[in-house]
Symmetry: C2
Subunit: 496 residues, 2 copies
């Protein structure tokens, strides 16, 4: 066995254990009775310990040295795999076990406090725990920065978005931030002039919503022999590439929420399913970062399923599913409903136009907190100021402000930028797909996603982590991330 083969065997074990943990997480969120929580925590904690031991084993350093010395003999996929193995190993070994444990404990305690502080609108109650999490996160960021040769913020970002660098992202976000307020004004004016769309009359039974969701998942290309649709409190895409499990929740007063949610998660699922089957359980076989992952869900949901071709396909199916008829059920009316813009306080409820403002705000604030330029105690004020600047709204309380998202309280710092990077990437990839395969919209109008999915599979899914996200995007679209494409998409959709 060569050193490289030894590494492959170790990572295969590591990834199989992580897959096992993934199934346990899915189970916990969908079917586990509440009383099973204690035992499940223990199972997951032990799996995490075993994974940590596997990925920080003392023999790995020498194996990497030996494998890299003989890397010339490897094919490009194996070389990329070796590169990604080392990247993961650097992340895993950058922090000592004590810091990893302290961070996990602090994040769990803070999240629990936050779960009560949010409904109570009591930022002061969670502030001490947030300070603790931030302090340890900054310590971890410093340690990873040293190990990886990055800035502390980039070291955090790199965990979710390999190769992502804030110095390249910030100007793109600033460009968008400058564009959005004026654009939003135009959109609101246009919308007011056009009058409100009609609301289809409910209720919309859950069973009918689910059946329609499955019908549309199948149209996108979801293979139910290799996946499931279930219910959970918070929708997600879990499972493993050969058994992708998406979830949703239903609101009987509004069928579009669950439907668009299902299509969004189906986009994630198609990415997982399309990853290179020859490289399962190896780092190079995994999705290339959270921004690209989000781009696949947003490409399906935002670029395609909130567009006119898909609305034409879906409108009669929806009318049939819910026994609806009349003008409210016409494709153009449903399309106007799906693309309604309305500035608001809550990120997860935001539309495509205002969503980036929420993300830019969070990215700026977390960057300042990691740099030590913003104290957590000053967060509510800074948050509210930024909301006025970006969306012209002043949150009436912290529940609708800095208490709304779990991320910081749960220790996920450096994650937020990936949402809007994903939205921009989605626009750029879809534009390139349309240029390469002009018949895509006509096919989608008939419920046939095959031409689009074939292009995505070839240019995105099947590449796994062979290249950096930036290289992949450049190969697929002819240029690196260009906010102009996203802005052009917004202008076309909301002003034309």
């Amino acid at each position: 066995m060569t050193a490289y083969q030894d590494l492959e065997a170790r990572f295969r074990r590591l990834y199989a254990l992580q897959e096992a943990a993934g199934v346990l997480h899915w189970d916990m969120s969908t079917v586990m009775p509440e009383g099973g929580g204690g035992a499940r925590s223990e199972q997951l904690a032990v799996l995490e310990v075993v994974c940590h031991e596997t990925s920080t084993d003392g023999e790995l350093g020498d194996l990497f040295a030996a494998a890299e010395a003989e890397a010339g003999a490897l094919d490009p996929w194996a070389q990329a795999n070796l590169r990604e193995m080392r990247r993961e190993w650097r992340h895993a070994t950058a922090l000592d076990a004590g810091l990893v444990e302290a961070l996990a404990k602090a994040a769990m305690a803070c999240e629990m406090t936050w779960r009560k502080a949010r409904p109570d609108n009591d930022f002061a109650a969670v502030l001490p725990a947030l300070k603790e999490v931030l302090g340890l996160t900054r310590e971890a960021a410093e340690a990873k920065a040293d190990a990886l040769g990055l800035s502390p913020y980039d070291a955090l970002l790199d965990q979710y978005e390999p190769g992502g660098r804030i110095d390249r992202i910030a100007p793109v976000f600033d460009d968008l931030a400058a564009f959005l307020p004026g654009f939003l004004g135009e959109v609101m004016e246009r919308q007011a002039a056009a009058g409100a769309p009609l609301a289809p009359e409910g209720p919309f039974p859950e069973a009918a919503q689910e059946a329609l969701g499955r019908r549309l998942m199948a149209a996108v290309g979801f293979d139910f022999d290799h996946g499931r649709l279930d219910r959970s409190l918070h929708p997600f895409c879990g499972g493993v590439p050969d058994d992708v499990r998406i979830t949703t929740r239903y609101d009987e007063a509004d069928f579009a929420k669950a439907l668009m949610g299902v299509l969004h998660e189906t986009g994630h699922a198609m990415y997982e399913r399309g990853l290179p089957a020859n490289w399962r359980l190896q780092p190079v076989g995994q999705a290339r970062g959270m921004a690209l992952h989000e781009s696949q869900s947003l490409l399906v949901e935002m670029q395609v399923c909130r567009g006119p071709a898909f609305a034409g396909f879906m409108a009669p199916l929806a009318a049939e599913a819910f026994g609806g008829s009349g003008p409210a059920w016409q494709a153009d009316n449903l399309l106007r409903l799906a693309n309604r813009v309305e500035p608001g306080f809550i990120r997860v409820d935001a539309d495509e136009v205002t969503y980036p403002a929420h993300v830019i705000l969070r990215t700026r604030l977390e960057r300042a907190m990691i740099a030590g330029d913003l104290a957590p105690g000053d967060l509510p004020g800074a948050w509210n100021e930024a909301m006025v600047e970006l969306l012209g709204l002043t949150p009436p309380d912290d529940r609708l402000g800095c208490l709304q998202d779990i991320h910081w309280y749960d220790g996920a710092w450096g994650y937020f930028p990936t949402y809007t990077l994903g939205a921009m990437t989605a626009a750029q990839l879809y534009a390139a797909a349309l240029a390469a395969v002009p018949e895509i919209p006509e096919a989608i109008g008939k419920g046939d996603f095959a031409p689009l999915m074939a292009w995505l599979k070839e240019n995105v899914h099947a590449k796994g982590s062979l290249r950096s996200a930036e290289e992949l995007l450049t190969e697929a679209t002819g240029r690196p991330l260009d906010p102009g494409v996203f802005k052009a998409h917004l202008r076309r959709r909301y002003l034309d």
Copy 2:
């Protein structure tokens, strides 16, 4: 940390990993899409490797020596835990890794061949694979016999029934075998004289069966905050003590099958739930062998739920659930249906009276094969001879004979005796419970299992593996296993 504490920590990890594997198995049997099978096998195989490494770690020998030297300071539960840890370690280390792997591979290959050979009625097709499995099993039995100081057959039996010894079981089985043919003749005569019971008219919708099953599970004491009921091809009790998951399958032509199946699995589930909570994830906290486990399911199903008090409680609920009325739905008619005796070829379809004959036959034959006294090629003939002797029936083909059960083909040798040991233990425990708590039948007539379950929890469930099964039974009932109690139960139920 003392050596004993070190061992506890290692076994806690081992058991948490085994629990994780248990949840993955449940998922595979209930909700996993077929295409997820390959990935799941890999996850389970890796978990098994990690478990094997944990339970055969080279440091364990010294730790056991050190822990046993200081065992005087331990309380009785910890002492018993140490004894059980060593027992498991002896089993785990008795076989070298090559034999373990060869046996697993041979069993998997043989099972796959058997899955086709059974419907094809082609014993010759599976014979080579069966020879391979038997050969390796005999090798493993020899190795374990050496390590444990047991006979080869006992070494296999001990895997499922710790402390079980064929020299004590065989006379009990011979006694039953001598009793059954004559008794069966009397029962059949009595049944013929009484005339056939009435069959309630179906169909019985699955949803109504499931709702009634849940109602009866709740009556037994099943806590749905700590468990689930689902569907699977083969009913089983899985999950973990704080999240016990039972399954069933439904036949819309016969509601009693699923219902009695659910009650059977609920008996298993109550045992798991009642295990000592302070000893979760430790050997002493586990169920005390498969015979005692089967005794808990058979006590609920056979002793109680096929008895008159329960029939009185259940009959009106069943009539209501399926909209039935008239004499077919009376308690005494349903009871006669539930206790119908009919010699047949298939073990899993057998009634309480003929079931032991199927088990005794298998026990005798597998013992002879392990001893080398019966060649697998002679199995069909030996099987059919024994069927004539024990039940007076000649199987028309091997599908209804030696091809029917998965056990030997899958490598589970030494398991069969536990079914009938369980049936006898159930009768003995229930008789003791009735003697100690005379109000049990009256309570069950009202759907109240609490008095029975309190006795079982105290005398069986909460003892975990503190004592041997024989000691536990002696403490709970005043004597070791006594086939007279089971025979008395049969006489009372079928002849009085």
